[in-house]
Each structure stands twice: as structure tokens, then as C-alpha cells.
């Protein structure tokens, strides 16, 4: 199995008001295609910083990350942007749906940025809405939906373009346990189809859906263990 993601001595330092805060400090990590990885740790341990770098939203202060074999420090912002839109899907804790767009339009957005032709776009959006059982809400705006429904829309948007990697930051954080389990089941099903999943979670129960759990503490990986079933 080839590596999809690889980091070497990854370091991320934030500086505010002349005070430097080390978020990640020498993180070495390999993620292979098809893996289901959960990243755990306390608040402020660097989970989200790591996820932002893995999602090509941010650059490390030092060290290197390779995505699909390409060193990201050598890529321009536009090239990183292209890699992200073609290969990565995001699921956020607060859903981050665009309030001014309907369910259909929110899901369609990544396909528009990928310049998928309109006919194909419509088919893909309807397929995923059917799969997520939200077709009847397609003309609704996010504020007219329940939390669970919003998360399903956010999930649909993340997967509609069939990305190779899905990054989910606390995807169950704003959901009750039933809806939380639904989301984790969806992620598992996607993983079974071959999509690489990386989630950040506080919950050991949800971490158990993954095959590998990485614990972060003060910007270091303290444990990196495979879960055996």
C-alpha cells in the first residue's frame, strides 16, 4: 500500500503579540491509501493544526509534508489549491454550510470548482442526496435544517466529488449520539470503498470506528497504534 500522506519533522509555530506558541513539534506521520485514522488529544494539542496542514490549507513552519508524493513546500498556493480541490474533502464540526446557498447548491459547490459539466454535476448531486436521504430538502437553506440534516449536507458536500482523502474535524461534535453514529457509519462505508479517512475526535467511542488511532500531546505524537478487531 503506497503512502498518500507523509510528514517529516513537521513543526508549526504561531506567533501572536511576540509570543510564539508551538502547535506541532517534529511530527512524523505516514498515512497510506485506504486507511481510516483517528487523531485524538486534548484541546490545544495541535490536532486541528495538523489537520489543516494535511488538508493543504496551511503550511508547516518547518519540516516537510508529501501529498501523493509531492513535497507541498515546493508547490505554489495555486498548485496546492488544485490538489486540494481535486483530491480532498472536508467535514467540519460546525458544518460550515454557506447560509445563502440551498442544500443542492452547497453540495454542488466542489463540483463547480472542479469544473464538472452541469449534466454530470446534477447526476452526482442527486445521487448523493438520495444516498443521504436529503433530496426532499434540496431547496432548503441550511438555517431551515436540523443539526443532523445539516451534517448530512456537509457530508454530502465532502464526498460528492469522490475525493481520495476525507478530513473530518470533530464531525460528530454538534450531534447527538444517534446522529453521531450515523456519521461514523457513513465514514466507515466510504472507507470500505477505498477512501482514506482522517478524523479528529475527542470521543474514544467514535475513534473505535477507525483502524488506527494517533494520540497527540503538546504537538508531539505520543502513541500511534493500529486497532485490531
Amino acid at each position: 500500500m503506497s503512502y498518500l500522506l507523509k510528514t517529516e519533522r513537521l513543526r508549526k509555530v504561531y506567533t501572536a503579540f511576540d509570543v510564539a506558541t508551538v502547535a506541532l513539534d517534529g511530527v512524523d506521520l505516514n498515512i497510506k491509501r485506504g486507511e481510516f485514522v483517528a487523531i485524538m488529544g486534548q484541546s490545544g494539542c495541535g490536532k486541528s493544526s495538523l489537520l489543516n496542514i494535511l488538508g493543504l490549507l496551511d503550511l508547516p513552519t518547518a519540516g516537510e509534508m508529501y501529498f501523493m508524493g509531492q513535497a507541498i513546500s515546493k508547490l505554489s498556493a495555486a498548485e496546492r489549491n488544485t490538489l486540494r480541490k481535486m483530491h480532498i474533502g472536508f467535514v467540519f464540526q460546525s458544518f460550515n454550510l454557506i447560509d445563502e446557498l440551498t442544500v443542492y447548491e452547497n453540495i454542488e459547490l466542489p463540483l463547480i470548482y472542479r469544473k464538472v459539466p452541469i449534466q454530470e454535476r446534477r447526476k452526482l448531486v442527486y445521487d448523493i442526496m438520495d444516498e443521504m436521504d436529503i433530496s426532499h430538502k434540496r431547496h432548503y437553506f441550511p438555517k431551515q435544517l436540523s443539526g443532523g440534516q445539516q451534517q448530512r449536507v456537509a457530508f454530502s458536500r465532502a464526498v460528492v466529488a469522490d475525493p481520495e482523502l476525507i478530513l473530518a474535524d470533530e464531525p460528530t461534535g454538534n450531534l447527538d449520539s444517534a446522529h453521531g453514529q450515523d456519521v461514523m457509519n457513513l465514514l466507515s462505508r466510504l472507507n470500505e470503498k477505498g477512501t482514506t479517512i482522517v478524523i479528529v475526535t475527542h470521543s474514544p467511542a467514535y475513534a473505535n470506528y477507525s483502524r488506527r488511532v494517533i494520540h497527540l500531546f503538546d504537538g508531539h505524537i505520543v502513541t500511534d497504534a493500529l486497532i485490531t478487531i
Partner: protein
């Protein structure tokens, strides 16, 4: 993608109705103002461009200047045309002269009725070959070829003959000349400095005495001479050879002071401001001012959009973060935000067109501006509104697009996104720019009004109030002037009666005199001076102040015999003297005595000052000497510095040319006195209807350009302030909304409503105060420059700048306080519980 942009733009506009309305309204006002001003500018710039050959048409100008005294005029000598034709056979295709009798109007008898027409001109037969003015009836090739033929405007053709065909109809001018109508000018929307009601063939005046005087006279400059260049000819060739023409044909005494020039037709309306223009011209400086104003109002409107869009960027942060995470490149986001601003400007264009539809018909009345008939569906109006709207939408959208698209997704998701210091600073600068502009426009308006009032009310050196002017050129009654005057003076409330050749205050006449070459010498030299022909009692009627010597003697008392002759049309007076000063006396102003080198006015008394016009007016020898010196008075508009001036007593036939009767009436008795004058007028069986105007009103109307400028800046400064306040209102409401929690906590901790209002107002009002400070400096500099362009002007009044500042500050204070007072009244519990 575009559909997605438009959808989200539309929903954003819809969801944020208040901000959208502020933006759309501000932009619409800006676009509407721009379009109105653009229409005015286009109209001004279109003058004379409708003639097919406008690029090849030129006019000959004349400068007769000696020692800074003289005349610059677009007119030239009558015989010059033939010599020009002979001198430049290879260059000039057609050359044609235009002439107008020096009368305020001509009496026209047509179809059994009497009319007064001001725009009566005479032109050479080939005039329409130079200017291809379309005719709706008659042939342009033959209309002016025969003597006593005339082309009339379609307006007067309708007025005189209604539905009957005007061709072949007769017009009687000044009860003397009969003209036959041979053509009718077609109605056009094309502006031109050539405006005619009647254009008669030049040959119609060949028999008039005036023609005998101009026909072979090289020193008189009565005609406007236009010529059309041959194709391929170079105007520089003609220009270079003009001095040779002057040298060849002009008398050496005259040519020493005479300079001939050429001006292109297309420059006449905006760049020619000479004495004796064909019609009142425009001014290119005002075109620049209109351009400046139109752009300024657009900038103020554009700033509103920039300010509100960047201030509200925090509300768009999540969307930007998500789009970036989903792969939106910065360029795509910029396109999206630009698309929003363009959509907004399209809406604003639509609203602006509705505003224009409503406003355009009244523009003419508002600014006394002849923008003729312009409609919203006019291509130019649509193009101006569309182009200005889209341009301002694009430019104003650039900064917010750049700024919003620069946000980093990671900052947004971490909640670290805050308005950057840079953007806040930039927004403050924009608010300051808006209010500096508003302040400057308001200050300009006040100073314009101040200057206009100064021009209208400044002491002119004579008393212009209570003087009624009766234009009476060629009125038979003027042949019995002395009797008529005596009858008028019998009425106790008529304090003085005189007559003059030009209207005092608007006199541009230049006379040639024989004057001692130096103050002690008796050898005479020719000098040109501004002068006016008047009849006795001029100084009494006008209230001039005597410094030395005496005024002209009054007319001789009427003898019984002449009184009996009063009511008969006896014209033998022309060569008789009616005062013993005739041919002997000249009165000059103090400036003239200084010019001639006399230390005191007294020194000038008795010195020779001979009028060189003897042959024209009488066979009597001229022996004029200075008999009196009057205090300087403004015989010309206040644009010009005081100049040496002479009052010439009309003598012999010269009395024929004092066209304006001036009657001073006692204050408070005007109406009754005018009734009396009208009765006396009727007693003399004068066929001309009794018409009059008040001198003060006529003189005030000279400053129409300044009046128009002050009105236009007044309207546009009000609009600019309104737009700026709309923006300030939007910005303050946004800040208040963001500070609701802070206000609640402060109130819970015991802050008074007043202190809350002060806290919220402070930041805005500091910006407005800074604007007033900067605006004061800018307007002080700019307005002093503008005032400096007048020979006589007010000193820049600090009180007016202070007043502008107080008004701008108060309007801003009210605008912001509407928001902040309401916010200060909120119950702190509501906010704290909500939080």
C-alpha cells in the same frame, strides 16, 4: 460558476436589505448625477460640430490694442473678405461674412402684426455653403442670393404665419426695409453659436447709410468673417501670412495697433470670450468643473460601497473559508465579489434611470440649461449611465474583492479572523475623503453665492437701482426726444431722463480719439478708449460722482415754437444743436486722468480730447476738451479691471445712436410713474409697443454663469453630503450592532445613555473633524485660486468655511446619533441574557 456567483450575490443583497438599499441608493444618485452632468458636458462640447465641414471652418479675429487699452473681437473689417480671397486663392474655398445691426432688437412687421426680434442677421449669399444649415423650405443655394431676401427660423415662421407657407411672405424691418422670405431653417437639436431668427441677404442693406460707412472702412470692425479651407490646405499657411495681409491692406497708423488672428470653429463656443461674440458662449473651465463634479459624486458613492463591503467582511468570513477549503482559488473569489458589486451597480443603474426619467424634464428649468429634449431612452443617456455605473461598480468592488479574498481559511476556521488594522485604517481614510469632498463642495457653494452676491450688489460707482431702461432703437419718438423728455420730467416722481448708445455696465464700445501725446504737449496722437455716447443728464440719472470740472450742460430749454413742433414728426433736429457742449465737451473717469499722466483730476480739465468720428456724425468740426472728471464707475461687468473711459456727448446724427432711454424714478413710486411714461409714450403715437426693463435686473443677469455654477454646486454638494451620510449611517449601524454586548455591559455597570452615545459617536466625529480640517485647507487654496480669476472679488470669508464645517459636522452628528441614541436606550438585560 457565474450563475452561482449571481445567485449568492442576489441572496446576499436580499438578505441584507438595509445595506443593499444604502448601497443601491448611493450609487444610483451618483450615477444619475454623473449622467446629468455628462449630458450637459456633451451638449456644451457638441457646439458647431454638426456642420459637415466644421473641421475646416475658421473665423477671423481682430486685436486693436495700444498700451493695454483696446478691443479683442471676433469681428473684422468688411473689405477684408475680398482681400483674403485674393491673398489665399489656393487655401480658401469659401469665405462669408455675417453682420448684425447694433440694435437691441429689430421691429418686424409680419402678417399684420408687430414683433421684436433680437436675432436678426445679414449674411453673404454663400453663407450656407460654409455652414450647411438644413432648410425645411427653400433652396440653400439661392435663398440669400437676391437683395431683400431672408431665411427665417421655423419658430418664427410658425409664430408669424401659423399653418400658411412662409415662402414668399413679406417682412417689414424697422418700418423701412421689406424682405421676402425665401427659406425656413429646419428645426434641429444641434447646438451652434450661430442662432438666427431672421438671416437676410447682405445685399438687403446695401442701400442703408450703415453700409456706406462699413463698405470701404478698414478701421471699423463690424462683420464676423468665416472661411472654409480647401481640402488639403494648411491653416498654418494662412496664419503665417496674416501679418503680410495687414501690412498690405491696412493704413500704417492703424496697422501699428492691429493684429489679425484666426480661430477654429470648433473652439468658438468654449474657448472664445471676446468682445462682440455672435451669441453668448460657454466656458471650457465650467466644462472641467462639471467633469470634476460628476466624478466626485461617483467617487463618494463608490466609497460607500467599499466601506460597507469591507466593514461587513466578518459576516462573509465563513463563506470565504469554506469556499477556499473546497478549492476556490483567490482569483475565483475575487471574481465572485466583483460580480456582486457589478450586480449591485446594475441595480443602481436601473434605479438611476428611474430617477433620471423623473428628473430630466426639469433639468432645463433647474439650471436654466438648454439640454434640449433628452430622454432616458436616449442612447447617450443609457450609455453614460451604464458605463459610469459599471465602472464605479468594478472599481469600488476591487478593494473589497481583494481584501475579502485575502482571508486565510485556517484563520477563519480557528476563529482568529479579525478585521485587519490595515482595512480599518483604509476605511477611515475613505470616510475622511468623503467628508472632505462634501465639505469642499459646500464651502464652494457658499463662496460662489457670496461672490455672486458681491457681483450683484457691489457699488458700481453709479446707482443702478430705480432706473428703468426703455430700448427704443429707430423709434420715431426718439426724433422728438427733447419734447418727450420734457413731458416725462413734468411728473414729479421722475427724477431724471437721459439716453445712451450702449447699456451702462455692459459697454464694450471703443472709440478712437486724438489725445495729447504727453500731458504738457499740444501735439496729438491717436488712442483707442472705451467710451459711451450719452445725452445730457446722464450723470444725474445715473448718479455719477463729479471729481473736477462740470457735467454736460442740459438741453436748451424748449422754445414755444419747438414745443408746438413736438407732436409733429419733425426730423430736422439731427444737425441742430440742443446744448452748447455739442462737439466741444468730453467727460472722463479718474482712471483716464491717471492713464494720461495727470496727478489730479483738476489738471485734466480743459485738455483736448478729440473724437475721431466727425464725418460719421456731423460736418461740424470737433473741438472736444475734457470738461469734467467723474469718479470711476464700472461701465463693463466686474470680470474686467477698471479702465480709462470717456463719456461722449451725442452730437448731430450721433443722437440717432443713443438707443436706450434711461429714466430714474423715485423709490416707492415706480408703478405709477411707469403708467405715466406709458401714457406719454402713447401720446406720441409711437407704433412700437412700450417695453422696458429694470437696469439692476439686467445687470444681475450678466452673471448667469456664476449663478449657474453656484446652483449646480449647491445641488451636487447636497447630493454628495446625502450619499456620504448614507454611508456613515450604514457604517454606524454596523458598528452599533457589533457593540451591542459592550453597550449592555457598560450600561449594567452604570454607564449613562449620554456617555454611551458619546463613546459611540466619538470615533466617527473625530473623522468628520479631521475631514473639516483637511477640507478647510483644500478649499482655502482652491477657492482663493477661483476668486483670483475675477478682477473684483470678495475676500475668502472664514465665517463661510466655519459655517460649512458646522453644517457638515451637524449633519454627520445627527446621522450617527440616530443609531447611537437608539442603541444607548436598549435594556442591558436583553443583550446580556441573549449573550
Amino acid at each position: 460558476m457565474l450563475k452561482n456567483y449571481i445567485i449568492i450575490a442576489w441572496r446576499n443583497l436580499y438578505n441584507q436589505k438595509v445595506y443593499s438599499i444604502i448601497n443601491v441608493l448611493g450609487l444610483a444618485l451618483g450615477i444619475a448625477c454623473f449622467t446629468v452632468l455628462h449630458t450637459m458636458i456633451r451638449y456644451e462640447m457638441r457646439y458647431d460640430l454638426s456642420f459637415k465641414n466644421y473641421e475646416g471652418i475658421y473665423r477671423i479675429t481682430s486685436n486693436v490694442i495700444k498700451d493695454r487699452i483696446g478691443i479683442k473681437t471676433p469681428r473684422s473689417a468688411y473689405p477684408l473678405a475680398d482681400k483674403m480671397r485674393k491673398s489665399f486663392p489656393e487655401d480658401i474655398a469659401h469665405l462669408s461674412r455675417l453682420f448684425k445691426l447694433n440694435l437691441p432688437f429689430q421691429n418686424v412687421w409680419a402678417n399684420g402684426r408687430n414683433y421684436h426680434e433680437k436675432l436678426v442677421f445679414y449674411a453673404d449669399s454663400n453663407f450656407l455653403e460654409v455652414f450647411d444649415m438644413p432648410l425645411s423650405a427653400g433652396s440653400s443655394k439661392t435663398a440669400l442670393t437676391k437683395p431683400n431676401s431672408a431665411i427665417v427660423s421655423s419658430k418664427i415662421a410658425k409664430r408669424y404665419f401659423q399653418e400658411t407657407s412662409p415662402i414668399g411672405q413679406k417682412l417689414i424691418l424697422r418700418n423701412e426695409d421689406t424682405l421676402t422670405i425665401t427659406g425656413v431653417f429646419a428645426d434641429t437639436d444641434n447646438p451652434s453659436h450661430l442662432k438666427f431668427d431672421i438671416l437676410a441677404s447682405f445685399s438687403s442693406i446695401y442701400d442703408l447709410p450703415i453700409f456706406a460707412r462699413i463698405n470701404k472702412n478698414w478701421t471699423s470692425l463690424p462683420v464676423w468673417t468665416y472661411f472654409l479651407l480647401k481640402e488639403g490646405a494648411d491653416i498654418k499657411n494662412i496664419e503665417a501670412n496674416l501679418p503680410k495681409v495687414v501690412k498690405t491692406y491696412y493704413d500704417s497708423t492703424f496697422s501699428a495697433y492691429y493684429e489679425m488672428g484666426i480661430q477654429p470653429l470648433k473652439d468658438i463656443h468654449l474657448r472664445s470670450n471676446l468682445d462682440y461674440e455672435v451669441s453668448e458662449n460657454g466656458d471650457y473651465r465650467y466644462v472641467y468643473i462639471f467633469w470634476g463634479l460628476s466624478l466626485i459624486v461617483l467617487v463618494v458613492a463608490g466609497i460607500n460601497y467599499m466601506n460597507l463591503a469591507t466593514a461587513r467582511s466578518s459576516l462573509r468570513a465563513k463563506e470565504i473559508g469554506v469556499r477556499k477549503a473546497l478549492g476556490a482559488a483567490r482569483g475565483e473569489l475575487m471574481k465572485q465579489f466583483l460580480c456582486e458589486s457589478m450586480l449591485l451597480s446594475l441595480l443602481a443603474i436601473f434605479v438611476a434611470l428611474i430617477l433620471l426619467e423623473w428628473v430630466l424634464p426639469s433639468i432645463n428649468n433647474l439650471f436654466e440649461y438648454k439640454v434640449i429634449e433628452v430622454y432616458v431612452m436616449d442612447f447617450e443617456i443609457l450609455a453614460a449611465a451604464l458605463c459610469s455605473g459599471l465602472a464605479v461598480g468594478f472599481l469600488a468592488g476591487l478593494y473589497p474583492a481583494y481584501y475579502l479574498s485575502s482571508m486565510e481559511a485556517t484563520d477563519i476556521f480557528k476563529g482568529n479572523f479579525v478585521l485587519s488594522v490595515h482595512s480599518k485604517g483604509f476605511r477611515k481614510v475613505l470616510v475622511v475623503v468623503q467628508f472632505v469632498i462634501s465639505f469642499c463642495l459646500l464651502a464652494t457653494t457658499f463662496v460662489c453665492i457670496n461672490q455672486l452676491q458681491f457681483l450683484k450688489h457691489t457699488k458700481l460707482g453709479y446707482d443702478k437701482d430705480q432706473v428703468v431702461i426703455v430700448p427704443a432703437p429707430y423709434a420715431p419718438l426718439m426724433r422728438q426726444y427733447e419734447c418727450f423728455k420734457a413731458d416725462l420730467l413734468e411728473y414729479p416722481d421722475i427724477l431724471g431722463v437721459t439716453s445712451m448708445g450702449e447699456l451702462i455696465g455692459n459697454n464694450r464700445d471703443i472709440f478712437a480719439f486724438q489725445v495729447p501725446s504727453c500731458k504738457r504737449s499740444d501735439s496729438l496722437e491717436m488712442q483707442f478708449h472705451h467710451a459711451m455716447m450719452v445725452r445730457p443728464d446722464f450723470e444725474k440719472t445715473m448718479g455719477l460722482k463729479l471729481l473736477a470740472g462740470r457735467f454736460f450742460n442740459s438741453d436748451y430749454p424748449l422754445t414755444e415754437r419747438s414745443k408746438n413742433n413736438c407732436l409733429t414728426k419733425n426730423s430736422s433736429w439731427a444737425d441742430s444743436t440742443t446744448t452748447d457742449d455739442e462737439f466741444k465737451a468730453i467727460i472722463v473717469n479718474r482712471e483716464m486722468t491717471k492713464y494720461l499722466g495727470y496727478k489730479t483730476p483738476q489738471e485734466a480739465i480743459g485738455r483736448p480730447f478729440l473724437l475721431i468720428k466727425s464725418k460719421l456724425y456731423s460736418q461740424m468740426p470737433h473741438q472736444e476738451r475734457i470738461i469734467g472728471v467723474v469718479e470711476d464707475f464700472h461701465f463693463m461687468p466686474l470680470y474686467d479691471q477698471m479702465k480709462p473711459f470717456a463719456l461722449v456727448l451725442s452730437s448731430g446724427r450721433g443722437k440717432n445712436y443713443t438707443y436706450y432711454l434711461a429714466i430714474r424714478i423715485k423709490k416707492g413710486h415706480t408703478e405709477a410713474a411707469l403708467d405715466y411714461v406709458s401714457q406719454i409714450w402713447a401720446n406720441y403715437s409711437e407704433p412700437k409697443a412700450f417695453e422696458y426693463f429694470f437696469l439692476s435686473e439686467k445687470l444681475n443677469s450678466q452673471y448667469i454663469k456664476e449663478q449657474r455654477l453656484s446652483e449646480i454646486t449647491a445641488y451636487f454638494s447636497m447630493i454628495a453630503i446625502l450619499i456620504a451620510c448614507l454611508g456613515l449611517w450604514g457604517l454606524s449601524s454596523f458598528v452599533v450592532a457589533r457593540k451591542r454586548k459592550e453597550i449592555g455591559i457598560r450600561k449594567a455597570l452604570g454607564a449613562s445613555s449620554l456617555s454611551i452615545v458619546f463613546m459611540l459617536n466619538k470615533d466617527f466625529l473625530i473623522l468628520v473633524l479631521q475631514s473639516i480640517f483637511i477640507g478647510t485647507a483644500v478649499s482655502y487654496f482652491a477657492l482663493n485660486q477661483w476668486l483670483g480669476s475675477f478682477a473684483y472679488h470678495v475676500n475668502l470669508n472664514w465665517g463661510l468655511l466655519l459655517l460649512s464645517g458646522i453644517i457638515v459636522f451637524d449633519i454627520a452628528l445627527i446621522t450617527v446619533s440616530i443609531q447611537t441614541i437608539r442603541a444607548s436606550q436598549q435594556n442591558p438585560v436583553d443583550v446580556i441574557n441573549q449573550e
